[in-house]
């Protein structure tokens, strides 16, 4: 796997490069700002792009904007956004195009090396990985939208949002694959997601989860 990194802090980009290298992931290029990112992606055609949220020149949310722009140019390009804080709004903006291959993680998670590499591969494979803190932000004070989900269904949805597969969810909650499958079917039905939409439904479910609007009521 080949990745391009956009990170202005040398300490972090060097650490990341070292860490990925030790896991056999090739870092094709490291760019210090968003403007160089598009060129680097065009040149190296990476399997995954890792972007920091705060980048020069103004150190605000350039990384989010760059990630969205990259995805607009190429919706199939997997992008993992790393940051020192997570905002649900940013997660929503990243997921807004409804296709997978998006990750949004705290930089803290990088130090859990094998988990991080797993997340990386998941995103590269078109999955969706949301930081546990995004999920916990959602659970606090949330009343509407997901009201009709049972406690177990919420748990399943939260793990889905973190990018886990059905089998992994089953293992985490110590239930059978079948039970997970049933819960997920219920979640899709309750959130009013069409049964025919295949793999994208997972992303849409997560998006609903992140989105404040009530899902279309299941009549």
């Amino acid at each position: 796997m080949r990745v391009v990194i956009a990170e202005d802090n040398v300490l972090l980009s060097a650490g990341l490069e070292l860490l990925l290298g030790s896991k056999g992931i090739e870092v094709s290029a490291v760019v210090p700002d968003a403007s160089g990112l598009a060129d680097a992606v065009a040149t190296h055609r990476p399997d995954l792009v890792i972007v920091d949220v705060r980048l020069p020149p103004s150190f605000r949310d350039e990384g989010i904007k760059a990630a969205v722009a990259l995805r607009q140019a190429d919706p199939a390009l997997p992008v993992l956004v790393l940051s020192q804080y997570v905002e649900r709004l940013y997660a929503r903006e990243l997921l807004a195009d409804g296709s997978g291959g998006v990750g949004y993680l705290l930089k803290d998670r990088v130090s859990r090396v094998s988990q991080f590499i797993e997340d990386l591969r998941r995103v590269a494979a078109g999955g969706t990985v949301m930081d546990a803190e995004v999920i916990s932000q959602l659970m606090i004070g949330r009343r509407s939208g997901l009201d009709m989900l049972t406690g177990r269904e919420r748990e399943v949805l939260a793990l889905m949002a973190q990018g886990l597969s059905n089998t992994e969810i089953g293992q985490r909650l110590t239930v059978t694959d079948n039970a997970v499958h049933k819960h997920i079917g219920n979640i899709f039905a309750k959130l009013g997601l069409p049964p025919s939409d295949g793999g994208h439904r997972r992303v849409l479910a997560v998006l609903t989860f992140l989105d404040n609007e009530r899902p279309p009521s299941p009549a």
Binding site: S22, Q84, Y85, E87, S111, R214
Partner: protein, 407 residues
């Protein structure tokens, strides 16, 4: 010592008399300017000159009395309209006019009286030895009326006039000088109300300065922590993570210590993140107030409609306060009100930011029961703003906040 003081008082009068006489022309000139066509342009300038003239005289009075005075400014704002408004508004202009009248009314009699008694001494000293130069049919008169026709009279009357003059000078010249100086300072001294008003203006300004500096400081600290401490912690955690990987499943001392160090670093990062969020939310730095409030609305536990179209530019301190106020009000609505939706409206009108958060919940907000309104009140009080809570039982609840934004 005493003579020096006397001499200072005499000098004061020597300048006072011409100064008061010159001031006589000020008032008629001003009246003419007001009545003359186009004279209104000249009035503010004349008043500025009068202000400088008053200040110069005030400086002399203060020096004589040995009291400190802070000089007033005589600067003109731009534009005749603004100048005239300032003239009508400012109590200082009225004081200048009052001073001019008083300076003339007390200065001329006091100056004349003082110089007359001093003149008694000077006359006697200069004229008595020269009595013989006066014509015989109109001889020199000393002690007001007594004619001098011989040396004995010149000497006697001369000495008598010097003694009387000196005694009078001694008695009344310093008194007159001080009386005039007092009157002059009193005419120009601000009333206690004016002093209070000026002090309030000063405090309002310095408070808004302090709040802005505070907000800017918080923003800087957030940035510094993000680029410095947080980044370093991430780098340390990364290395510890890689080290743990390299060590594998070692349950020995090194493995245990590494694990503890790694978990400790993660806990530190989480704590630091929490501290930063409550101190200065990163999204406020990233997206400004409108963006941050949209995020609050988007991630609230209930549908929130945000109307931020008339927000306009807002000082940093007000921005931070408004962010926390809206967050708190939305949290309240979500947790306690049973509302199904809420609206947030922010608009800047003139020098005030109006914030309104309304929900359709059950109302009956009880401020004593720690509903977060107290926190909002505290934040608003720091700005000398106003909080209104309208929450009848049965709802709906509307919280309005007004935050002054001194520009």
């Amino acid at each position: 010592m005493v003579l020096t003081y006397l001499w200072r008082c005499i000098r004061y009068h020597l300048v006072l008399l011409p100064s008061a006489m010159a001031t006589v022309i000020a008032l008629p000139l001003l009246v003419i300017a007001v009545l003359a066509p186009g004279g209104l342009v000249a009035v503010p300038r004349m008043m500025a000159i009068l202000r400088r003239w008053a200040e110069w005289n005030r400086g002399r009075a203060a020096a004589l009395l040995g009291v400190p005075v802070s000089p007033r400014e005589a600067r003109l704002p731009k534009g005749v309209g603004a100048q005239l408004r300032e003239l009508l508004r400012s109590p200082e202009s009225r004081r200048d006019l009052r001073w001019a009248v008083r300076h003339v009314a007390t200065g001329i009699p006091a100056g004349l009286a003082a110089l007359t008694v001093v003149g008694l001494v000077v006359n006697a000293v200069l004229e008595a030895p020269l009595w013989w130069l006066f014509p015989a049919d109109d001889p020199l008169r000393l002690m007001v009326a007594f004619p001098v026709t011989g040396w004995s009279q010149a000497l006697g009357l001369g000495l008598a006039q010097i003694v009387v003059g000196a005694a009078l000078t001694w008695r009344i010249v310093p008194k007159l000088a001080r009386m005039h100086a007092d009157a002059c300072l009193a005419a120009l001294a601000p009333s206690s109300e004016d002093r209070l008003a000026a002090r309030v203006d000063e405090l309002t300004e310095s408070r808004s300065g302090v709040l802005d500096a505070h907000a800017a400081e918080l923003r800087r600290i957030e940035r510094d922590l993000h680029d410095g401490t947080q980044a370093r912690l991430v780098a340390i955690a990364m290395r510890l993570g890689v080290a743990r990987e390299a060590l594998g499943d070692d349950s020995g001392t090194v493995g245990r210590l590494l694990k503890e160090a790694h978990e400790g670093t993660e806990a530190a990062m989480a704590e630091l993140r929490q501290v930063i969020r409550t101190m200065y939310p990163p999204i406020l730095a990233d997206r400004g107030l409108a963006g941050a409030l949209n995020a609050v609305a988007a991630q609230a536990g209930l549908p929130v409609e945000a109307d931020l179209d008339h927000l306009g530019p807002v000082p940093a301190a007000v921005e931070t306060a408004a962010y926390f106020i809206v967050s708190e009000a939305i949290t309240n609505a979500t947790k306690h009100s049973g509302a199904t939706r809420a609206t947030v409206r922010l608009a800047r009108r003139d020098d005030t930011l109006h914030v309104e958060v309304a929900d359709d919940g059950r109302g009956g907000v009880d401020e004593r029961r720690g509903t977060g309104i107290a926190g909002i009140r505290k934040r608003v009080a720091a700005f000398d703003g106003a909080v209104g809570v309208d929450s009848p039982p049965g709802g709906p609840t509307t919280i309005t906040v007004e935050l002054p934004c001194a520009s």
